[in-house]
Symmetry: C2
Subunit: 154 residues, 2 copies
């Protein structure tokens, strides 16, 4: 459905929504461990979200790390996807046609067009803050099960 990069980004942001604030920053080591992603690769992904568009904030040095502002926590996953330029689910055609539309639909178009708005709603109608808050229920998880005797990270 999504690329690894996107999956890591979404997991990271939900985790940051839960654990971070301007005076409670989260380091990349803790973050990558928590969501079960490769550390350096995740760092790269976060960089893309700290620079230009500023969804994520970061501070270097001791007590530094990544955090989300309250404003950022109010965004939806769909908004994050737009920053990641990974909105193919919403904009794309099931069969991969570039020009699939109401005017020239592919054979699946009439079916998929009914599902797109539901996907869009799923991704848009909750803030990442709300998703994060669901994790007060301890059975809800954001990390992959760690392999016994082996670090998930690098």
């Amino acid at each position: 459905m999504f690329s690894k990069s996107t999956e890591y980004a979404l997991r990271a942001i939900i985790y940051l929504a839960q654990k971070s604030s301007v005076d409670q920053k989260v380091g990349i080591a803790e973050l990558a461990e928590a969501i079960g992603s490769p550390k350096s690769f995740t760092a790269k992904i976060l960089q893309n979200l700290t620079r230009g568009n500023k969804l994520i904030n970061s501070v270097t040095g001791p007590t530094g790390g990544f955090y989300l502002t309250d404003k950022a926590k109010k965004q939806s996953l769909l908004h994050v996807l737009s920053l990641l330029e990974d909105e193919g689910i919403i904009t794309g055609c099931i069969l991969g046609l570039k020009e699939c539309s109401e005017v020239n639909p592919c054979p699946m178009h009439s079916q998929y067009k009914n599902i797109k708005p539901l996907l869009l709603d799923m991704l848009d109608h909750k803030t990442i803050q709300q998703l994060a808050s669901e994790m007060v229920d301890p059975k809800i998880v954001i990390h992959n099960i760690k392999r016994k005797g082996k670090k998930n990270n690098e």
Copy 2:
């Protein structure tokens, strides 16, 4: 949503459902041209569907080519996906967790689980024959717009 390989496979099969039969085979050149896919790459993909599992039939030599039996035409796209081992949409977790389930759901699980059956239904409740037959309407297309002055194929 799907890989290029899967997209080409689905388009090819829908095209074959429309144009081919045991005494009306379609060559790889015509097929690739029709669906706008790279010829040799598409040939490889079809090979995987002609061998072990036999969704697609093929015959070498003059008047040879690829074709679908009536039985094959009655399969659904979901069945094709299972042959291609690309069912992640149905089996996977939005956030990429391996162990996401009712017992240990990710924060998106409760939302996505409502959409999965709809995707499944979309992919399963029409045969490829039925999809192909929609193409009697000439506005329904299965190919990408060809780039001016440039072959889409190799």
